[in-house]
Symmetry: C2
Amino acid sequence: MIIATPDDDFLYEKIAARFENQVKKGLLKPGDKLLSVRALSREQGISISTAYKAYVELENMGMIEARPKSGYYVKFSPARFSNSPDIKPPLKNTGQVSVTEMIAMVYQNMPEESVLKLSRAAPPLNLIPLAKLNRSMIEAIRKSPSGNSNYETLQGNIALRKQIAKNAFNWGGNITEEDVVTTQGCMEALIFCLRAVTEPGDTVAIESPTYFGIFNVMLSLNLKVLEIPVAPEIGLDIEYLEQAMKSVAIKACLFVTNFSNPVGSCMPDERKRQLVKLLAKKEIPLIEDDIYGEIYFGKIRPHTCKSFDTDGWVMLCSSVSKSLAPGYRVGWCIPGRFKEQVVNIKMMHTISSATPTQAAIALFFEAGRYDLHMRNLRRALYTQCLRYMQGIAGHFPPDTKISRPQGGYALWIELDKSINAFELYQAAMKHNISIAPGQIFSTDARFSNFIRISFGMPYDDVVDNSFKVLGQLVSELTG
Amino acid sequence: MIIATPDDDFLYEKIAARFENQVKKGLLKPGDKLLSVRALSREQGISISTAYKAYVELENMGMIEARPKSGYYVKFSPARFSNSPDIKPPLKNTGQVSVTEMIAMVYQNMPEESVLKLSRAAPPLNLIPLAKLNRSMIEAIRKSPSGNSNYETLQGNIALRKQIAKNAFNWGGNITEEDVVTTQGCMEALIFCLRAVTEPGDTVAIESPTYFGIFNVMLSLNLKVLEIPVAPEIGLDIEYLEQAMKSVAIKACLFVTNFSNPVGSCMPDERKRQLVKLLAKKEIPLIEDDIYGEIYFGKIRPHTCKSFDTDGWVMLCSSVSKSLAPGYRVGWCIPGRFKEQVVNIKMMHTISSATPTQAAIALFFEAGRYDLHMRNLRRALYTQCLRYMQGIAGHFPPDTKISRPQGGYALWIELDKSINAFELYQAAMKHNISIAPGQIFSTDARFSNFIRISFGMPYDDVVDNSFKVLGQLVSELTG
């Protein structure tokens, strides 16, 4: 054991590096409690202030966390990406702009026109079957004696719920319309489910990196997050979660099991079964965000955790926002044993969801228009995905690492470690190009040299040119 | 001063009655702190248990309230209704069914068909301009290059916001589209505004009696309510509020200033100005629910508090649910100085509101279809209101007291004191008639001999016959 000498200026860094090594080697496990600052100081013969600085450093790196009135705990093992096995959490914070502020900057203040929106993960207009969708809306209005102007039933449009139950066959579900509650998009479904099973102050396990909207939701409900790493091939690190559960009271989990955003990984069905079993045993609800489940590039639709759920602990949430019509705000959840709570929360929040949009989507499904559309959409998106990858590989510096998504809308791109992705975002916006900086996909600066690029738009000269510009900017910003 | 004798079995009732009298005479004012149980026992020479029982009795009557770790306070002066000056709060609780459970029973489990819904305050189908509304929806879809399938901007459809700003002229408003944020119905507007200005545990002043949906909202946000009486002629009792503010930390107010539900009273404009001034001085936000403002029976549209708001403390909320199309779930708020917070909360909750419904309502307004429709609707509802009043007067026992609404959808009816309105509701449901029992309009049993009847449906033989049945049931239940 090294006995530290008090005259060493960077002693705290060495102490921190030793802890980091222990975490990497698995000697210290997520959730392990660390010595108190005072005990560390005593044991290592260092000053209180040096011990404290070492912990602050580790905290900044995302390795450990301070829990109020409890002490320091190991938080996070190294991120695991296929192309970047040696990645370690960044050492520095990104500065003055908080994650929430960055999200607002990237998404709230985006001018509608002129900007190339590589940051938006939604189907582009040319892939939406507009004529058929419009026809469904018009038919639905004409069919309804009230022109769909009346309040919908609280649980949701019955025709739509039947179609959702029918489509559940594709992901291995065996449900009826009685199991479904409709919502205003998937976001509202997630919120209603979270509110049904958590109280403010509770801890919810989420993936890391994760969709920034999830942070907003957690913030808005006063929930704490515990970030569980995602690996490209197998998705969520269940073993990590299992370890974390030993020391952290997890009230619920919220995972994107199919084509997690931004990594694009898909949890193999066998691991889904394993996850469901683990959580049911611990009686921890799993809120499963399956919004990308239909956008698969393989031969078959992956299952959901819900399909392995025998005891009702899985609350599946989804919508048509990624497959058909984001503006319709038609979403739903299948809340299992928590259905009554979810329905009550819906009643308190909104009385009912909008009638015309629910009825139109129901009719679109009923007319058999959905399956054909989805086949076209998947083929187009997969092609676009490959072209985007080639474009980035061609225009970005050679050390750029690109994810290989199995579905969804996003490429997750690792740049040189010296790159600050938020600075890159700002530089790109001067060229009217909007990308999503890695900082907004985590609560700390872990992914500050990553960017997410959505391949929803057709690959054309404008996109190609934007990659030239971005590649150039990356080169310029590389230190 | 009476010296109580310990052998008196009903001593606590006498003590309670004395307090009640003091409140009625204004000797004890709302918000006044009462003696502690121990001090009361000492001062009156009664046992601790008798003192305690007296306070519990007063609490059950809604006269006082216990505040955790603080003691007992005077809560509520006698309700003031023009036709019932001597009303005092009921002495007994209604029993096993909570207010929340009653609301769920009355509204959630209502079979869609066969039941005559005298409990629903919404425009009936025959008063909705369906053909024109449908045409607006279809035109809006055809006009939009994306068929309104894309995400709407966060703040809301610009055309709709312009129309809302334009219509604000009618209520004395001077705003632009930049001041407006659209929502999923008025309920969501109220929730976003409440969340913008309160934290869980805060106290919000509301009217009494009030729309039961408000209780659900408060419950769902973990807010405490302070009930301020409403008088039929002048609406909210501002003097009562002013008194209450001296002793209770009110974080926000939520009032229906025009045609409060269920009483139907309208606050005179001069009193609105007074209220706005009072609250601005204390820097207390006023969430003004103006959902019924357009349904006036007089010659002119009453102003809103918002129209007197020079400092942005008033957050006006409304929707088209009572005037045009409840099922469209198109609402909005004009949140004054709290706009940024409201927009942020909206972003966290839902990304954006549905596009097609917003665009359709905007087009309906633009085409000038709204003004004509509203003239027809007001005339029809006023006629129905008068016919309903006559029907009730003809079929109910002679001691029945009926409110005289100046607008809105509801009659507030006081029955014999021996009537339990929830029992009446249950008896009526056996005849397939749904009414709203008074219990769901207050947090206590204060209005347990009141019912609310909505006159939204045309007065026909079915309605007339239902009044015969109800009148008969009231007679049978009168003790």
